[in-house]
């Protein structure tokens, strides 16, 4: 007697599997991680408990996690939009930077001492700049079929150099003793905080964007067209959909949303543009979008979980005295298992027992 294992594509995906597989993947990642933790001399349950309590256990933890998650949510929705159309926008990082630069430019050059007016000025600047930056790559793709993975990636580096130029050069705070940062934004140019913490208006913007694009893809004709163009450009062309125009438009919107994330970081969180401005969110947002399977509402949830992993990871260092690498390993395990779980969502494994034919 022999056992044969056969991998078959699932024809239907039962509802229970949608929820069960990701959860099971996380549990398996934690189980595997606990082996590593035990080897490092950290009691696994105590470590997980510390991580959970620090990132979601109380209001301060949730606040820290949300702050970390805001740019991930926003930029995550942005790249999701492009990915739906199979346009691979890898440039959220650059678009975030450009959005932050445009926000700072608005504060410096068209400052109005009114919170409401200033918000819309910054918003408009971030949207136009971030969107325009991404639309360049969109146009190159539409017009000459230039690979957008390459162009968006390379535009990231240009954006970074522009950031350096401004913070080291013309926008450097004269009182900073030469350290690369701008003067602090005046109060009217700061996004309002929600409650007492440092959660800013960016959270609401992220949630609204998530809901809007969920509705767009679910209920509008344009959303449907984008999906068709993403899944089958030929079909779309036969159906008379304007691929060229929509590539540019989708890239613009995708970049504009990343630009808004940049605005949130400088006008909401730091209150000034500085060298250490973290735009690495742009890359993490890609992971967020995929983990969320390009679902705008799931993006919000996944971004929160990734934020929690980050915040909880620090506590592992402080409380359990583990090196940074061990927390990164845990984060990596969780991503690995979730992506691996995707396989079981789409395929089933059958064990056949019986005589060989």
């Amino acid at each position: 007697m022999s056992v044969r294992i056969r991998v078959e594509r699932r024809l239907t995906q039962p509802v229970w599997i949608e929820a069960f597989i990701p959860l099971f993947s996380i549990v398996m990642a934690l189980v595997t991680g606990s082996i590593f933790l035990a080897v490092l001399g950290a009691p696994p349950l105590q470590a997980y408990n510390a991580m959970f309590r620090a990132s979601m256990g109380d209001w301060l933890g949730i606040r820290d996690t949300l702050v970390k998650a805001i740019p991930l949510m926003t930029a995550g929705v942005g790249v999701t939009l492009a990915f739906k159309m199979s346009v691979w926008n890898i440039g959220a990082t650059g678009q975030i930077i450009i959005g932050a630069l445009a926000t700072t430019a608005a504060v410096r050059y068209v400052y109005v001492d009114n919170r409401f007016v200033m918000f819309w000025l910054m918003f408009l600047a971030a949207v136009l700049a971030g969107g325009g930056w991404a639309a360049m790559a969109g146009y190159l793709k539409a017009r000459w079929n230039v690979n957008e993975i390459i162009t968006t990636l390379m535009l990231n580096y240009i954006a970074l150099q522009l950031l350096y130029y401004f913070v080291y050069g013309p926008w450097r705070d004269p009182a900073s003793l030469g350290f690369p940062m701008t003067t602090p934004f005046p109060p009217a140019a700061r996004l309002p905080f929600l409650g007492t913490g440092r959660i800013h208006l960016g959270l609401i913007i992220a949630l609204v964007l998530g809901v809007i694009f969920w509705l767009v893809f679910r209920f509008t004709r344009w959303g449907y067209e984008i999906r068709v163009m993403g899944e089958s450009p030929r079909t779309a062309r036969f159906a008379g959909m304007d691929y060229v125009k929509n590539v540019v438009l989708v890239m613009f919107l995708s970049g504009a949303i990343a630009g808004i994330a940049g605005m949130g970081e400088v006008a909401g969180l730091t209150g000034r543009l500085q060298h250490g401005f973290t735009a690495e969110y742009g890359y993490t947002a890609i992971i967020v979008a995929w983990l969320a399977r390009l679902h705008p509402l799931t993006v919000i949830l996944v971004a929160f979980l990734i934020g929690a992993l980050h915040v909880g990871g620090e506590v592992l260092q402080i409380v359990m005295r583990l090196p940074l690498a061990s927390t990164q390993m845990l984060q990596g395990l969780i991503l690995f298992f979730i992506l691996g779980g995707e396989f079981f969502r789409r395929y089933r494994i059958r064990f056949h027992t019986g005589e060989k034919e």
Binding site: V67, P174, G178, P180, H275, G276, T278, Q317, L324
Partner: protein
Amino acid sequence: MKKTIVLLLAVAVFLFGSNAFAFDPIPEDELQVGFVYVGPVGDGGWSYMHDLSRQAVEEAYPGITTSYVESVEEGPDAVRVMETFVRQGFQLIFATSFGFMDQVIEVAEQNPDVVFMHCSGYRTAENVGVYFGRMYQARYLSGLVAGSMTETNTIGFVAAHPIPEVIRGINAFTRGVRAVNPDAVVRVIWLYSWFDPGKESEATMALVDAGADVIAMHADSGAAPLAAEEAGVYVVGYNNDMSGYAPTRHLTAPIWDWGVVTTRVVGQVIEGTWQSENIWWGMDAGIVDLAPFGDMVPEEVRTLVEEERSRIVNGEWDVFWGPVADQDGNIRVAEGKRMSDEELLSFSWYVQGVEGEIPSN
């Protein structure tokens, strides 16, 4: 800018003079000390040396608990990390990068019972002290070695951020180079990063291609010495003895010993005698020094460095005592004059012998 500095000094004097604020003693076995590092603790340079100072504290006071978080970005992340330390009951926090400055002040304001020590910044408060060392003194000595060893008269300098601290170091190094070799020039490549081993080694190769036969550096990792060893050029390390990265090419290195400060501060916090202060100690205090020479450094160079070293340690002379000329040869500090600490802390021009421009204002 002058005004700001004057104001800051006034505030500092007021704080030191007032003596109003005192902290209760904390028994050694209850004290928890946190360290915030900008790079990975295994960077083999800046953060590594700070971690040695954490270990020095543990050794000197075996009862206390220490902990650290590494690779913390200069920005909002630093606030969260320090707040987490506070929430976990830590009473003393060392923040070890310039870019944590505003964040230290922010967290310190909300937690007046916690003592913060910020390395390399200038903002103090009742519960925030700052500490740094006069690294430029050791850099000058390393410049004497580099200037003696170069044959092409071109020396490369791999530099992190164009801020006064780094510019001061390049200038001091160049003063050393020119003291023994008036024909030599120093070329600078800026990384715009404290820790980026890839860029550090690329910059090293670029400088070698441009004719440099000695490389000096101000960056956090050992990547530049590693690349110099491979390229077959001499190298002056930084932060710690980097001869491990360049066993046959390492001339020497200006090095830190932060343990001098951390053990003292921890002792004061335990006794309840700690008060905010602005520490900017020199080579005489042992906070900066020179790593052992490589075998290739000739005897007469060693003797010269030793002589200059004792002049600095004894206070007979210092690196930026006039005359100091700028790049164009204009005397910026006249003979008999000395640059003040404020001028040193806001250094924004190159001395004679440095090629290129400071990325700009």
